[in-house]
Structures are given as C-alpha cells and as structure tokens.
C-alpha cells in the first residue's frame, strides 16, 4: 500500500504511523511524500522520526547504536530518519531528557526557518515572473503559498514545544513575540489575489502595490522569526 502525505510536523506523522501500525499497516519506506506500507500484525511496531546531522548519509555509529537497542532503521529522506521498534512495555522514545529534547526541536526549528526563507525568496521570484505574464507562475504561486503557510505553522508549533521544554528546564521563557506575522500573511494573500484578477479588474495594480508594501512590512515585523542564527 502506498499513501501520499506531506510531512511537515514530525509529531503528527509519528502519531499517524503508529495509528496505521495499530490497524495492521507497517510503514517500510518514504520518498518525497510517498509512504510505503506492508501489512503487519496490528500493533506490532512503534515508529519514530529523527533528525540527521547531515543531509547526506547517516553515520555507522548511529546505525550501530540503533541496531543494538533493537531499533530498525527504515531509511532516510533529506534530514529525516525513519525508525521503528517492536512494540514493548516501554514506550519507544528517542530522547529521554529535557536537554536533548530541547536541542532536537531547536534543530528542527532552525531547518524549517532556513527552508521558509528559501521558499519566501522563491515566492517573490515567482511573483516577478507572474507580473511579467509568465503563465506557469500563476499555478506555482498558490502552491508555494501553501508550503510557506505550512512551514510557518510548523515553526509556530515548534516554538510552543520549545517554550514548554524551557519552562520544564527552569529556563526563562523567550520574551520575543513568535509566530506567523498576520501582516506578512495578509500581504502574501493579497498579492495572490491581485495577480489572479490582474487581467480582469482595473485596480489590480494598486492592489499589488499594497500587497508588496504589506509583505515588506510583514518581513520587517517578522525579522525575529527569520533569525535562525539565534538558535
């Protein structure tokens, strides 16, 4: 069985995989949003998703440690490592203390921030292409917009997890305002609308200038979100 599902929050994906394993479908591989499943005894496995140090390959030390602790390495896609273990009395957890959980989620947030910045640059380039009348850009823009929204949602959720962990660890909560900036989102959305109605409505140029202004203000206001080097 093959299922398609984009992974943008690992906690959701783990819950989903565990649910399917409970129903008798064991995930055995992942590639670019396509998840491969084999049948299994219901509840035979528990799943985990880890983050690799590097985009390419995974170290022998890592594989050896996983094998020794009864964890099966299923594969790797980008930075994500897919693992499973035969279900036992102990829940399958990769991180056992607050410090390492914190480091793990901070690493995830860092990668999503970098990815979000890259997507935002793509979005602006596609907007320029659309303004020049390149047809394809009209279809690509909404897709990029959805990806950006998903990434911002992940960053916001990861922020909340990190804040909780810091609190458990007795560290002061981060005073900086976090989360997706509404002005930026409004700007992105307005820009899409302006482009879509470009040929039909006369005031679309005004709308687009307003969108550009909103996006610039939004980026300025969310400069703290886009500051991965703070982590």
């Amino acid at each position: 069985m093959i299922k398609f599902r984009l992974c943008y929050h690992k906690d959701d994906d783990i819950a989903w995989l565990n649910q399917l394993a409970q129903e008798g479908y064991a995930m055995t591989g992942f590639f670019a949003g396509f998840w491969h499943f084999d049948t299994c005894t219901p509840g035979e496995y528990e799943y985990q998703i880890d983050l690799s140090d590097s985009f390419f390959g995974v170290s022998n030390d890592y594989l050896e440690l996983m094998r020794d602790t009864g964890i099966e390495y299923l594969g790797k896609f980008g930075f994500w490592i897919f693992l499973r273990k035969k279900k036992s009395d102990e829940p399958f957890l990769l991180y056992s203390d607050v410090e390492s959980k914190l480091a793990h989620y901070q690493k995830i947030r860092f990668l999503f921030k970098i990815a979000a910045i890259v997507e935002l640059i793509c979005f602006l380039l596609e907007t320029l292409a659309a303004a020049k009348g390149i047809r394809l850009a009209y279809y690509v823009l909404p897709v990029i917009l959805i990806i950006i929204l998903a990434m911002l949602s992940t960053i916001t959720r990861t922020d909340a997890i990190i804040a909780t962990l810091k609190e458990q660890n007795g560290e002061p909560a981060d005073p900086r305002r976090r989360g997706a900036d509404p002005v930026l989102l409004t700007g992105l959305f307005t820009n899409c609308v302006a482009l879509l109605i470009k040929d039909t409505v006369p005031f679309s140029l005004m709308l687009q200038i307003a969108a550009l202004f909103l996006m610039l203000v939004g980026i300025y206001r969310s400069r703290q979100i886009f500051r991965p080097w703070d982590d």
Partner: protein, 106 residues
Amino acid sequence: MEKNIPLTESLFYILLAVRKPNHGYGIIQEVSALTDGRVVLGAGTLYGAIQALVKKQWITMYSEDTDSRKKKEYLITKAGAEAFRAEKARLEELLQNAALMEENRF
C-alpha cells in the same frame, strides 16, 4: 570548563559508564542498572551526547584490537575525568550543606 558544570544527569551517568571501555548499548544498560531503571537513556539522547563528548574530547574512541567486527567502544579522557571530579566536588558541597537541614526538627 566552568560553563559545563553542573553536568546534566544524562552526561553525569554517561561519563561514569565509560570509566572503563564501554559501547553504546552497554552504556544504556549500565546507567539503567545503576539507577534501578530510573534513568533509561533514549538512543537519540545517547547518540547526541556521545557526539558532543567526543567533540569536547571528554571521551574518546577506544579499540584494543583492530578487529572491525568488534563494537565501537568509548573511554573517558583525562579532561573528561577532571570535569566529572569537578561535578562530584560540587555535589559533595551540596550534600554537605544539605546536612544543615538536620538542625530543623521538621
């Protein structure tokens, strides 16, 4: 070194478990045995800690022979042992001062 003290509980026990050559799974088992199952290191936590400790040169790879089938073992270094002793001194001070509480009858 000051910055590394206090050690986290996981690091404290990992350093203790590599006072003699030990491999990853051996570390998990020993720490679990020492704490009566209270501290069970997650594989991700241990992997990250080993990477960090090797980088800091508090532990080092140890191999008695060149047999590649043998599991990779780790051993504490002089710097690691010093950090552990500094932490032990800090904990002893805590315990010593904790004894003052005995003056209180509640």
